[in-house]
């Protein structure tokens, strides 16, 4: 039953973080983590929509085998800008910069992050990086692929590479500072009683993500700086003509860019770990194992990067080692999937919108993850590397996984951030539309990739057209699935019913304070005496006693 049904009509709190101060300066010079989160929300949504426009152009162009819409040179720029915008300016910041920033202090009972001014600096670095990328796009864009492989990017490309590289470089520091802020915050800012093993899994997920951010991002920063220097001053680090080595670039680039995909998925996993217990009214199964799995993904994720380089010319022995390690990194992700399922087992499940997104995540992440194993196997990778199989694989994880997580988070925490509820019917409908559109877009890509259609090609043999048409049709439906939430969420800000403090209800500390929260988060610093996800011992939630008693918070079913 909906938790808002038999509640008396609530009022918005009189003073909260949104009306605490007015004027553009109070937003652009804020150090309130919640306002900074909203600044990020607006900016990442912009880049998401921009990346979506590029995707739309790609899919339109690929409707016909000869490609009527774009010339080959322009097509190359489209998929490059799509990748750059989506990966660096949407996916990597998305959940951490919006929901991590907003909720980590609330979840641990703190007034703010450890370094609020550095938090604001992170956003400005993101904006500067984004502006530079935009400048590159508007100067005609770049055609190197988001992977900037040398010597194309550093020597031969005639496109706006330098500003884009500089933009991504600067954006990297935004990421590094965010990770640094989160790590220190979780260590030093927890409220009394909030021990490590009482932390919500969302916090553990961001702790693991932050480890990746601080250890990996500096390497890609150096790499891009070297490639940029090579381009500007005609140096030779990665240029075989001058004694350099392009494979060195790839090693340096993927050392970060593989862990980067875990930066994109771990926070989404953290979101799912919040949503599923709430809508199953049951503690997360295997809390400590889940926390350990997050850390394991972060650490083992650093050991597999050269699986992107199996056909690049590395030694067979290195390839073997990286393939083996790639199999290992799948294990903690699988463990998490099993634990989410076990959380739902014998739970009291309700299918509100966040849960619909969580279900979508489970199915799509599963497919994406399993297909990663095909790619990680040396023999099969020779066949499917650089085909649409890869494109489908990473879109299942990034869109089916990470973006579903992002949408789930948006719908789960919208009441807390805005104080309002959105239309549940419309939202559920949009979630289903998204799921259907997504599968229609990307499943055919597995098939055409396996059948041999290469990626990043602007034209293709006619036998692949049917797959491409299906894919483009799906993309149209997918677009609707993304536009609808923008509309009804904005609408809800003015016309949605007041949500109240804890509409779902959920056990997290963030739901103990008002919706929207006051600037200082809590009237009084909370003292935590309960375990995470302990639905049984929380009479304040107003839930009926569960018919089947839930296990203890550590989840030994």
């Amino acid at each position: 039953m909906s938790a808002t049904e038999s509640r008396p009509a609530e009022q918005l709190p009189e003073k909260h973080y949104l009306n605490a101060d007015y004027g553009i300066r109070s937003w652009l010079l804020t150090t309130d983590h919640k306002r900074i989160a909203l600044l990020y929300l607006v900016s990442v949504t912009f880049f998401f929509l921009l990346g979506g426009v590029f995707a739309g152009l790609i899919r339109l162009h690929l409707l016909t085998p000869k490609g009527a819409l774009l010339s080959p040179e322009v097509y190359n720029r489209m998929f490059t800008m799509h990748g750059v915008a989506m990966i660096f300016f949407f996916l990597i910041p998305s959940i951490p910069a919006v929901f991590g920033n907003f909720f980590i202090p609330l979840m641990i009972g703190a007034k703010d992050l450890a370094f609020p001014k550095i938090n604001l600096l992170s956003w400005y670095l993101y904006m500067i990086g984004g502006a530079l990328a935009l400048y590159s796009f508007m100067s005609g864009g770049l055609d190197t692929g988001w992977t900037f492989y040398t010597p194309l990017s550093s020597v031969y490309s005639n496109s706006a590479v330098a500003p884009a590289v500089l933009g991504v470089f600067i954006n990297g520091f935004s990421s590094i500072l965010t990770g640094l802020n989160f790590l220190v915050t979780v260590h030093t800012m927890r409220a009394p009683g909030m021990t490590w093993f009482r932390l919500p899994m969302f916090v553990w997920a961001h702790y693991a993500t932050s480890i990746i951010m601080i250890l990996g991002t500096p390497v890609v920063a150096t790499t891009l700086a070297l490639a940029g220097m090579e381009r500007l001053f005609h140096l030779g680090f990665f240029n075989p003509q001058l004694g350099g080595d392009p494979v060195l670039f790839q090693h340096l680039f993927w050392f970060y860019s593989h862990p980067a995909v875990y930066i994109m998925i771990l926070p989404a996993m953290g979101v799912i770990s919040e949503i599923i217990p709430t809508f199953s009214r049951k503690p997360l199964f295997g809390y400590k194992v889940m926390a350990g799995a997050s850390l394991a993904i972060a650490i083992v994720g650093f050991l597999v990067w050269a699986h992107h380089m199996f056909v690049a010319g590395q030694s067979a022995y290195a390839a073997l080692a990286f393939s083996f390690l790639t199999m290992l990194v799948a294990v903690p992700s699988a463990v998490k999937t099993f634990n989410w399922t076990a959380t739902m087992y014998r739970g009291s499940i309700s299918f509100q919108t966040p849960m619909v997104y969580a279900f979508g995540f489970l199915g799509l992440f599963l497919v994406g993850g399993l297909t990663g194993l095909f790619l990680g196997t040396l023999g099969t990778d020779i066949h499917i590397h650089d085909t649409y199989f890869v494109v489908a694989h990473f879109h299942y994880i990034m869109v089916g996984g990470a973006v579903m997580g992002y949408m789930g988070a948006l719908h789960y925490w919208w009441p807390k951030m805005s104080g309002r509820m959105y239309s549940e019917t419309l939202a559920r409908f949009a979630a289903v539309v998204l799921f259907v559109g997504f599968n229609l877009t990307f499943f055919p890509q597995f098939l055409m990739g396996y059948a041999g259609m290469p990626r990043r090609y602007h034209s293709y043999p006619p036998e692949f057209q049917i797959y491409n048409v299906l894919s483009t049709a799906g993309a149209t439906i997918l677009a609707i699935g993304y536009i609808l939430p923008i509309l009804y969420l904005l609408w809800s800000l003015k016309f949605g019913p007041v949500a109240g403090r804890n509409p779902w209800p959920s056990t997290g500390l963030e739901w103990q304070t008002a919706s929207p929260p006051p600037t200082e988060n809590f009237e009084v610093t909370p003292v935590v005496t309960w375990e995470a996800y302990d639905f049984e011992n929380r009479p304040d939630l107003g839930l009926d006693k569960p018919v089947i008693p839930a296990g203890p918070a550590s989840g030994h079913d």
Binding site: T188, P218, L242
Partner: protein, 227 residues
């Protein structure tokens, strides 16, 4: 604007504030390790591929200046550690003195570096169309072993300027931080109870010193035994 020494609004205690500052600085230094690490990897791979040219390039560097600079930077780490000691023991005048000494030594380092760089430009040892290693510096054996030694030596110099340039940039930032510390210290802001900024800048300064401890042998001491 918060006065130093006082609690910032979002912290509960001074201890929490200090712990956060320290943890934050250490994590930042780890990011710097990885940042320099990437370029050290590029150096390693390129040197392994072009040993002759790298030796040629290294031997044109002024070893005396490099060694003096190493000594200067190590000494500045000593004075920086002494500044932190003065902070811990509340000797305010000494804090300022040692910070100034550190800044002076850092300035000497950067001055010598400037001299070295100027020399490179003068002797056409900057990567680009005017690059030229004098013939007397290239043995016949070397020219035979690596016919493309000019292009490959430019790789060495690209890395030389890249690595020492990045290091120098960090020194300049460090100098700026020292100037800020000196001004605060002269106003008596640092006591035995509160000297966190001195300690944090100290950590940063020592890190920059450690980077040079590795740069010196890697850049200046390749195959010196033949000269």
């Amino acid at each position: 604007m918060h006065r130093t020494g006082e609690l910032y609004g979002h912290f509960e205690t001074l201890d929490q504030q200090r712990e956060s500052a320290s943890l934050g600085m250490w994590i930042f230094l780890i990011t710097e390790v990885m940042f320099f690490g990437g370029i050290f990897l590029a150096y390693t791979v390129n040197r392994h591929a072009n040993p002759v040219a790298f030796a040629l390039g290294s031997n044109t560097l002024d070893l005396r200046l490099g060694a003096i600079n190493t000594g200067v930077l190590l000494a500045s780490s000593f004075t920086m550690a002494m500044a932190v000691w003065a902070g811990h023991t509340g000797k305010q005048k000494l804090i300022t003195l040692f910070l100034i000494l550190t800044l002076v030594l850092g300035g000497i380092f950067l001055g010598i570096k400037t001299v070295e760089y100027a020399g490179k430009f003068e002797h056409h040892l900057v990567p680009g169309s005017s690059f030229h290693i004098p013939a007397e510096d290239v043995s016949a054996a070397a020219a035979k072993a690596d016919p493309d030694f000019s292009a490959h030596a430019q790789l060495f110099f690209s890395l030389y300027f890249g690595m020492t340039g990045l290091h120098a940039l960090h020194m300049v930032v460090g100098a700026g931080l020292l100037i800020w510390l000196i001004r605060q210290s002269m106003q008596g802001r640092y006591t035995a109870k509160y000297n966190t900024p001195v300690e944090m800048v100290g950590l940063y300064w020592h890190f920059v010193d450690i980077v040079w401890i590795y740069l010196f042998p890697l850049l200046y001491l390749i195959d010196r035994r033949h000269k």
